[in-house]
Symmetry: C2
Subunit: 300 residues, 2 copies
C-alpha cells in the first residue's frame, strides 16, 4: 500500500565532529521517504522555495518518490535549518531556523492521494497537519510526529489532533514534556489517554519504546560505533516503521514488532553519513544483512 508523508523538505546546514555540509537536502519528509521507499511507494507532501535546486528534485524523483504534491513556491525561500552536534552527538544544537515558504504552507493533494490509507504527519505546524488530515478519505493508519516548539506553543491544537491519529511518535523529551510525566511508561500511558491507541517513544541511542493497551515493546538501538550525523534519524526510523506496516497491510503485534526492528535498522544507516548520503543508497538487502546481526545483538 502507498504511503503519504506530510512534512518538510529543507536545506540543512549541519556541523558535526566529522565535518560540515551546507544547504544539503534534508527535512523530515525527505528523511522519512528514504526509508519508507524501500517498502512501498511514497507520496511526499511538502513545500520548497524558488531557491530549491533542481538537482534535489531530480534526486528525489530518481529515488521513486512521488513529488506531485511538492509545492514549488515561486516567491520565497526554502525552509533552512542550521544545527551542530558536539560530543556524543546525542543532542542537536539549533543555530538557526528560517521558515521561509513553510510559514504559508497549505498542503494540496490529488484525489488519488486523498485515498491513501497510510499517512505520516511529520513535524510541521499542527494546524497544517490537521488541514491535510481533513482531506484524507479513508485513513487506516495515521501517525503523528511533532516537536517541543508546538508542544509549548500550540498545545491545544496538538491535543485536538492527537484524538484523530492512531500513533503518536515522540522523542523522550517531547513525551515527557507533553505528558508531564518523568517515567517513560507513565508518560506513554498518559499520552495514550490523550487519544492515540499507540504511542511510540524514540530514545535516540537508547532505542525505542512502543506502548499500547495490550503490550509494551522496548527495543535498543543498533549498536553503532560511528555516528557521523544523526540528523533525520528519527524520521528515518519512522519511515522504516511505517513503510513496513504499509507494505504488510495488517497492523498487528507481529508486524509492529518487525516494523520497529526495520525502523531501527534503517535509522542505524542514516547516522553513518551526512543528511541523506547513506540512507538514500539504502537497499532492502542492506537492511536484511544488518537485521541478522542486530538479532544477535538484541538477544533475539
Amino acid at each position: 500500500m502507498s504511503i503519504l508523508v506530510l512534512g518538510t523538505v529543507a536545506l540543512d546546514n549541519v556541523k558535526t565532529p566529522f565535518g560540515q555540509r551546507k544547504k544539503m537536502l534534508g527535512g523530515s519528509a525527505a528523511h522519512f521517504s528514504m526509508a519508507a521507499r524501500i517498502f512501498t511507494p511514497v507520496n511526499l507532501v511538502a513545500i520548497v522555495g524558488k531557491d530549491f535546486p533542481q538537482k534535489h528534485i531530480d534526486f528525489l524523483e530518481a529515488k521513486g518518490i512521488n513529488l506531485s504534491a511538492l509545492i514549488r513556491e515561486a516567491s520565497g525561500k526554502t525552509f533552512q535549518w542550521s544545527g551542530e552536534y558536539k560530543g556524543d552527538l546525542n543532542t542537536a544544537i539549533t543555530l538557526n531556523t528560517e521558515l521561509g515558504v513553510l510559514s504559508t504552507f497549505k498542503p494540496k493533494i490529488s484525489e488519488e492521494q486523498k485515498r491513501i490509507e497510510y499517512v505520516f504527519l511529520a513535524n510541521v505546524d499542527p494546524d497544517i497537519q490537521r488541514h491535510l488530515l481533513r482531506h484524507m478519505r479513508s485513513p487506516k493508519l495515521i501517525a503523528l510526529d511533532s516537536m517541543n516548539y508546538w508542544i509549548n506553543n500550540k498545545r491545544k491544537s496538538l491535543l485536538r489532533l492527537l484524538k484523530q491519529v492512531h500513533i503518536y511518535v515522540a522523542n523522550d523529551q517531547e513525551a515527557r514534556s507533553l505528558s508531564q510525566e518523568h517515567n517513560l511508561i507513565q508518560a506513554a500511558r498518559a499520552l495514550r489517554s490523550f487519544g492515540p491507541k499507540m504511542v511510540l517513544i524514540k530514545k535516540g541511542e537508547h532505542g525505542v519504546l512502543f506502548y499500547n493497551d495490550k503490550f509494551i515493546f522496548s527495543l535498543p538501538a543498533y549498536p553503532a560505533d560511528r555516528v557521523v550525523d544523526p540528523t533525520g534519524a528519527g524520521d528515518t526510523f519512522a519511515g522504516g516503521f511505517m513503510g513496513y506496516l504499509a507494505k504488510s497491510r495488517i497492523v498487528n503485534m507481529q508486524n509492529i514488532r518487525k516494523a520497529l526492528v526495520f525502523g531501527t535498522i534503517a535509522a542505524s544507516f542514516n547516522i553513518e553519513g551526512f543528511g541523506l548520503e547513506r540512507a538514500s543508497r539504502l537497499t532492502r538487502k542492506d537492511l536484511n544483512k544488518r537485521l541478522a546481526h542486530f538479532k544477535k545483538c538484541i538477544l533475539l
Copy 2:
C-alpha cells in the same frame, strides 16, 4: 558454585519523591547479595563499625549470606551514604559520604573462601580490591566495578587492576570517563583494550550493553512504571548476572545472555522499594514470572 563479593555494607540515608529512609541497610555488597543469593551461596567480604545494628546482621544471615568475612570493627563508624533522587530518579545527588571504618578496611578471608572461583569486586578503593584479589587461589571469573571517584583519583591503580579481571562493569558515565570515548561501543572497545575480556556497561533505565571480541549484546531495561528508589540497582543487576553465571558454571554466549536478562529483572524489582526492601524478598519464582513478561517486551 559459590560466589564471593567484596564491597560495602552501609547505612544509607535516602530521599526520593516517594519518601525517605534513615540509616537503612545498604551498600554495594548487600545489594549484590540480595540478587546473587537466589542462584548460589554468597560470601560477603566487607566491614562495618560498632554502630552497626545487630538486626542487620541477623537479617543478612537469615537471607543465607555467609558473613564470616564481615569485619565488625569495634572502633569506628559504619560507612554512611546520604543521597537524594529527584525528577526522573535517574541520577543520585550525593549529599554526604562518611567513610568511617571503610578507610582502614583490609579484607580477610578464610582458606576456603580463597578457593572460591566466582568473584565480584564491587565498588571500593581499587587498592582494597587488589589486596583481596591477591589472595584468590583459582579465580575463574572476576568482575570489577568502580566509580568516578576512583577513575579520577586512582586511575593508575584501577588500570593496573583491570588487567587482572575478566569483566569490567561500569555505568555509562564511568565507561565514557575511563575510556575518554563518547560513543559507547567505542568506549567498550577501548575498555576492552585495557585488559578485561568482557565489558558490561549499565545504562540505568536504558538497559545494558555487553561487549567482548566476539559479540555485542544490547538489552533494554525492564519497562518499570514505578521507581521508588534506584539505589543499588546496578549492584542488584550485577548480583543477578554473576549469580546466574556462577550457578551455570559455564561462561559462554548462551549463559551470558541469560545472565544479563536475570540481572535486568532482579534490578527491576530492587527499584520498586527503598533499599533492600523489595530485593530481599525476591524469589526465583518472582524472577521467572517477570521473565515471561520481559521476553514479550523485548521482542524475544
